[in-house]
């Protein structure tokens, strides 16, 4: 019972912290909305797969609130079903690349010497690779339609910048007097890394994770838009945009929403993520946490 109350307390406090920043709270509501849209709504709105030649590029109506596309499919159902992969890939890519960056960056800063030089040389090399052309080439060689595989590849291409940033953070934090005090008190390496250094980087890491997610959304969107990537059941916000673009939806006044609805979905999702970072700062910075 106390355990449940503890969880409820923690949850309530976190919620209050999120609500302390208006922009951040707006971002949080936005994220909840998109998670609901992409993971819950598909249970109620079936994906429209039927072509209707008599309903091509229809304007919004009571039956199809966002109109129809070049095949006469309901755009609303495409938007509802097109979010899941975008969000999952964004989260996986962000999580994997942040994890790699935190591990390698910390090792690099804490061990120093040859290990540090090797990791830094690797990041230099990695940063010199033109990511997007490489992705384009990769897409022609491997079928990138698996969510995990794509996330892994996107993450492997984006860890380097963050690794350098984490390394410099750790380098600065490990010089602090309180880390020296912990060493003097005979605290273990584990304690020093996880209790003294990491908590002071949490807001930075969380915010980096969010920005890695936004980058992943754009990267997959770009690949799909260029036609280098397709998903198995061929639906994602980016796929809808690409089809709208290539099948000429932009030339008709009535099909305006065919391209704008998924564009708005992506843009608003990204905006929510970016706004939410304000609240993350609030959650992880004890200085701002006073009085809660």
């Amino acid at each position: 019972m106390t355990f449940v109350r503890g969880i409820a307390n923690w949850f309530g406090q976190t919620l209050r912290l999120i609500a302390r920043n208006k922009a951040g709270f707006l971002g949080f509501i936005g994220l909840l909305f998109f998670i609901f849209l992409a993971f819950v709504m598909p249970l109620f709105v079936p994906l429209d797969k039927t072509s209707r030649v008599d309903k091509i590029y229809n304007p919004p109506s009571a039956e199809h609130i966002l109109g129809t596309d070049f095949q006469g499919r309901d755009i609303f159902s495409l938007v509802v079903h097109g979010g899941r992969d975008v969000i999952v890939i964004a989260f996986l890519t962000g999580a994997i690349s942040t994890f790699i960056a935190v591990v390698l960056g910390s090792i690099s800063a804490l061990l120093g010497g040859a290990v540090d030089s090797a990791i830094m040389a690797a990041t230099d090399f990695w940063l010199a690779i033109p990511t997007f052309p490489l992705l384009a080439v990769l897409a022609t060689q491997i079928k990138l339609n698996d969510v995990w595989l794509l996330s892994l590849i996107l993450a492997l291409l984006s860890w380097a910048t963050l690794t350098r940033a984490i390394r410099s953070q750790v380098l600065s934090l490990r010089q602090r007097d309180y880390v020296e005090a912990a060493r003097s008190l005979g605290m273990s390496h584990r304690h020093i890394i996880f209790k003294e250094i990491l908590p002071n980087m949490m807001s930075y890491i969380a915010i980096s994770l969010v920005f890695a997610m936004t980058a992943a959304v754009y990267a997959q969107g770009g690949l799909v838009f260029l036609g280098l990537l397709s998903f198995s059941d061929n639906n994602s916000w980016a796929v809808t945009i690409q089809l709208a673009w290539t099948r000429g939806a932009i030339f008709f006044k009535d099909s305006f929403l065919n391209i704008m609805a998924p564009v708005a979905a992506i843009a608003l999702f990204q905006l929510s993520l970016v706004l939410f970072t304000r609240s993350l700062e609030e959650i992880f910075n004890p200085r701002l946490r006073v009085g809660v």
């Binding site: 602090r176 007097d177 605290m187 304690h191 002071n200 004890p286 006073v290």
Partner: protein, 336 residues
Amino acid sequence: MTVNATPIIELDRVSRVFEQRRRQVKAVDAVSLAVQEGEVVCLVGESGCGKTTTGKMIAGLIHPSGGEVRYAGKNIWAMSKDEFRRYRLAVQLIHQDPYASLNPAHTVYGIMSAPLLQHGIVANHKQARERVRDLLRTVDLTPPDDFLDKYPHQLSGGQRQRVSVARALTVSPKVIVADEAVSMVDVSIRVSLLNMLSRLKRDLGVTFIFITHDLAVAKHFAWEGRIAVMYLGRMIEIGRTPQIINHPQHPYTRALLSAIPEADPRITRTKERLQLRSLDIPSLLNIPSGCSFHPRCPLFEAGLCEVSVPPLADVGDGTRVACHVVARERAKEVVA
């Protein structure tokens, strides 16, 4: 002071050189010091004279580049893992800046319970809370329950410094190296902080190595102990506090003492004013030859002072001075 007992801390010609873009900075140069258990020694000197580096070498946080640091007779860098762990806990450092020495992410309880739990000094959080309460009372943070769940940024400078002292006490140290422990707090708080430290010294029998740039503080804190004066990485005078304060020998110590402002104008008028030849402190990158004080020294003798480094010579009354001229004059007095 019993001379034959093994000193708890002993520095044997300890040096530390920092590399800076292929240039070498000699922060500490062949400093020797023996501290007996229960003693108070003040390291005094202006900023950049190597006092903090010396303190950190005593606490085992910086490796000396020459010489040996010994704890209870054993070189700390040649100790077994277990011995080193015991030494590490027995010698605690209190940092100068109470705003940087407490982790902003943890509460006072979190900061203080970590070492208690890590070293098995207490068995669980309940005991840890009790112990932390006791320690907070020891450093005059009462009632302790007002402080347990506060974050460092919610405390004043003086309160933070007390927490940082209490944290050092969690591992029951035998030696505390206090690095300018009172210089960053308000003057009004300073005296009560010093009195608290004096009480710890008395009640717990802790050996104190007190690092300060302020001779008035040294006088207040270490009247029964010794003062060691450092200049540009070298120890230039060491002796019992009353001797150093009342009869300073080295011209640098005399200059430092004459610079202390006095509240009583009559004292100020009669006070010896020592005129230095130069007020600029030489750069550590370019330490003067011979006695490093010679470009500023009023007793400077050409052909002697800039040629050889003066050794610490015994001049009686338990005072040792590194000055060619003073040592010679005192030796004459003894002969006469």
